[in-house]
């Protein structure tokens, strides 16, 4: 019971931090609140089903990706005057309407859906590893190719001054 309430609390914090993250004018603040969001989600994963995946979520997202963002923002080193006005209100309005529509539709769809109730306790890292390396080994290997491509691509893109 306690765990469920912890998860609910973390979920609320996650939503709030996400909202804050997308509304900050300075991207550094956005990054900080995004980090908070990632931490909350990592907590949810940990308590709900798998500490392993929760740890990975925090390490990779909060540890790696977010640091990358902050680093990039620092490199550009934007001053306040560069943070011009945001988009027109009408755009925001339609975006919010559409987003609410999406949430409402998803809730409508899933409301009538009764999932099978074979709830497991926790799922161990071993099980996840087995799933990745046995049944989904092709996907796993493709990911390695993707990563090496991304490394090469990132180096090529960032290294040289592009000629246009």
């Amino acid at each position: 019971m306690i765990v469920e309430w912890v998860i609910r609390a973390l979920g609320i914090i996650a939503v709030l931090s996400a909202l804050v993250a997308i509304t900050r004018r300075n991207p550094i603040y956005s990054a900080v609140f995004l980090g908070l969001n990632f931490l909350c989600l990592g907590g949810i994963f940990t308590f709900y089903v798998s500490p392993f995946v929760g740890a990975v979520q925090i390490i990779v997202y909060a540890g790696a990706i977010l640091v990358l963002f902050v680093l990039a923002i620092m490199i550009l080193n934007l001053r306040d005057e560069d943070l011009g006005p945001s988009r027109r209100t009408v755009v925001k309005f339609f975006a919010v309407i559409a987003a609410i529509g999406v949430v409402w539709l998803i809730i409508t769809i899933t409301a009538g859906f009764v999932p099978p109730g074979r709830e497991a306790g926790t799922i161990s890292a071993a099980q996840v590893g087995r799933a990745l390396l046995e049944a989904h080994v092709v996907a796993f290997e493709v990911i390695s190719v993707l990563l090496i491509t991304a490394v090469v691509g990132a180096v090529v893109l960032a290294k040289k001054r592009m000629e246009v």
Binding site: F94, A95, A98, A99, V102, L105, T108, I109, G112
Partner: protein, 635 residues
């Protein structure tokens, strides 16, 4: 009998080709001079070995080598297999034997040429392709070789391609042959279709033999006539002979090998190979014999007045090929093959002799500018004389026996008109042969003083001497009347040939007559070109129209040019301008281009280049999909 060694006959020339083509330039002239002829010699030796094997297998014996399945499509399965029987084996020996001698001769003739290795590569490839043609166990493989030799012929005619005229001659040969090849393909298709209807589709010679008797007569007739169209192209018969005189633009050994001894006889070989089908279509046989004799006659008339030493020989070749077709056309298949063999000897040698003369004269080919070479080039003169005697049909030289065999068979099988025309052509043959010899070797020299004729090196003389011996003895050894070795040898293959027994008195009479005709040809030539050298001029003046007609080769080239080439160019030009340009390009293409351009011009307004606008579109799509799911859920 199966023997996987048989493919060695093909592999030696192929290996020679590959070596010369890819390493020849680096290896240098010396190495190429060994590799080129040696590859053919090994092939020849393999052929001799299998000939001895064949002897132990009886008259229907053969040696087969299935190398791989070439085409397998549905019911049709065509193997890449070669068959060495009495007919193809004979051809192998002729092709590789004469081919080897000409390779050796070429060492001297092509010495110092920039494209030396290229020349030998082509020549090796030619022999390989010719052997595929000869040994192939089915029509399609024969066609592969058929096209392959055509390709080599094209490459070698245009060997000195930097001169436009020579390149054009190669092109002409290729295009004219293409017309014939179309007939050949259609012939193969007819047989494939016919065999599919009566049993299963096949182009294998051995299976066709069983299929042909079950086919309706008109199918066999159509197939044989279509195949013969191919033969008229490759073997330079009316109406497709026009490429051969121009083909003399190639190096002279090439003329000897390809355009006299081997490739041009492919048509004769094809008819002999398909003898079972031709014998089942008497009308086709008559067409073959008729076209043959007409070609023999008309080509001989053109040979009378030609002034280029090689063109005289070219017309002579066309004419002699006509004789061969008369032979196979009247059912004397062995006779046709006999003449093919002796002709390979003496005509190859005539070309080699002509090459020696041209070589010695530093490239001069006009016989009006020669004369008196007898003393300057004694060996060339001697072999040339032997060849001339053989070609003219003077006994006991080879040409006499083989030509006479054909004429006798034609007469005895009731084709008396063909025989008469053939005799007339024989007279002209003797005449133009001696005209050539007298003009080149006798009388006073007519060449410039700057030209210093010299004898050719031994590497050129020795192959000529061997061929000279062959064409001296070849006739009576291989085909002495009634004791014809070649006929007995190929008996198992030609089950459908004409059988003529007895009547030796008639044969003796006809032989006597041919001899007289040949001698008469010599006598007239002697009178005109040795005794009274002003006579030819007078005769030409007297019969101006006839002379012009012959000298311009009946204007056949011009007629073809107007009738086909110009018409074709006109039509294709019209199609290009009025259909392709106006309708397809202007109409369809431009309309399509304008439409897509206009559409794009409208559609590009949707592309704002703003990533977030695209995001909106995507989100709208997501919403639509979700809404659809909800709606489905509700209903």
């Amino acid at each position: 009998m199966e023997d996987a060694m048989l493919r060695l006959i093909l592999l030696f020339p192929l290996a020679g080709f590959l070596f010369n083509a890819f390493l020849g330039k680096r290896a240098g002239e010396r190495v190429v001079s060994w590799v080129g002829p040696a590859s053919i010699f090994f092939s020849f030796a393999t052929g001799v070995y299998f000939m001895s094997q064949l002897a132990g297998l009886g008259e229907h014996g053969y040696i087969r080598d299935v190398i791989f399945t070439w085409i397998a499509s549905g019911e049709v399965s065509i193997p890449f297999s070669i068959v060495f029987d009495h007919l193809s084996g004979w051809m192998v020996l002729v092709v590789t034997g004469v081919g080897f001698l000409i390779h050796v001769y070429s060492i001297g003739y092509m010495h110092g040429d920039k494209g030396y290795y290229r020349y030998f590569a082509y020549l090796n490839l030619f022999v390989f392709m010719m052997l595929v043609l000869v040994l192939g166990s089915n029509l399609l493989l024969m066609f592969l070789g058929w096209e392959g030799v055509g390709l080599c012929s094209y490459l070698l005619i245009g060997f000195w391609f930097t001169e436009e005229e020579r390149a054009r001659a190669g092109m002409k040969a290729f295009i004219v042959n293409r017309i014939g090849d179309l007939g050949f393909i259609l012939g193969i298709a007819t047989l494939l279709w016919g065999s599919a209807v009566v049993s299963h589709p096949t182009v294998e010679f051995s299976q066709l033999q069983a299929v042909v008797p079950r086919l309706p007569e008109w199918v066999v007739l159509a197939a044989t006539l279509l195949l013969f169209v191919g033969a008229t192209g490759k073997s330079a018969q009316i109406p497709l002979y026009v490429w051969l005189p121009d083909a003399m633009a190639g190096p002279t050994p090439v003329s000897a090998l390809i355009h006299a001894a081997t490739m041009v006889t492919a048509g004769v070989y094809m008819v002999a190979r398909m003898n079972f089908a031709y014998s089942a279509a008497p009308l086709a046989m008559d067409v073959v014999a008729g076209v043959g004799v007409a070609t023999a006659f008309f080509a001989a008339t053109m040979g009378l007045v030609a002034t280029d030493i090689k063109k005289v020989l070219a017309y002579s070749t066309v004419s002699q090929l006509g004789y061969m077709f008369v032979g196979v056309g009247v059912g004397a298949y062995a006779g046709g093959m006999f003449h093919l063999t002796t002709h390979a000897f003496f005509k190859a040698l005539l070309f080699l002799g002509a090459g020696s003369v041209i070589h010695g004269m530093s490239g001069e080919q006009d016989i009006r500018k020669m004369g008196g070479l007898k003393d300057k080039m004694p060996w060339t003169y001697r072999v040339f004389l032997i060849e001339g005697l053989a070609l003219a049909g003077i006994p006991p030289f080879a040409g006499f026996f083989s030509k006479d065999e054909i004429l006798f068979k034609a007469f005895a099988s009731g084709h008396k008109l063909i025989w008469a025309v053939g005799i007339a052509a024989a007279f002209m043959t003797a005449f133009y042969t001696f005209r050539l010899i007298f003009l080149v070797f006798y009388n006073t020299p007519r060449y410039d003083e700057s030209v210093h004729p010299h004898e050719s090196p031994p590497v050129m003389i020795i192959p000529m001497a061997i061929l000279a011996v062959l064409s001296f003895i070849g006739g009576f050894v291989l085909g002495f009347p009634h004791h014809s070795l070649i006929e007995a040898f190929m008996e198992g293959v030609f089950r459908h040939g004409v059988e003529i027994h007895g009547a030796s008195g008639l044969e003796m009479g006809l032989m006597f007559l041919s001899t007289i005709v040949a001698v008469a040809g010599w006598a007239v030539a002697y009178r005109m070109y040795v005794v009274d050298t002003t006579l030819p001029e007078k005769i030409a003046q007297r019969f101006k129209a006839a002379y012009a007609l012959l000298f311009n080769r009946y204007w056949v080239d011009e007629i073809y040019d107007t009738l086909f080439v110009k018409t074709y160019l006109g039509i294709s030009d019209g199609i290009m301008r009025y259909i392709v340009d106006d309708v397809i390009i202007e109409g369809f293409l431009n309309t399509a281009a304008r439409t897509s351009l206009g559409t794009g011009r409208q559609l590009r307004k949707l592309q704002t280049g703003d990533v977030q606008a695209y995001g909106f579109a995507m989100l709208a799509g997501v919403l639509l999909v979700l809404a659809y799911i909800v709606w489905r859920w509700a209903t």
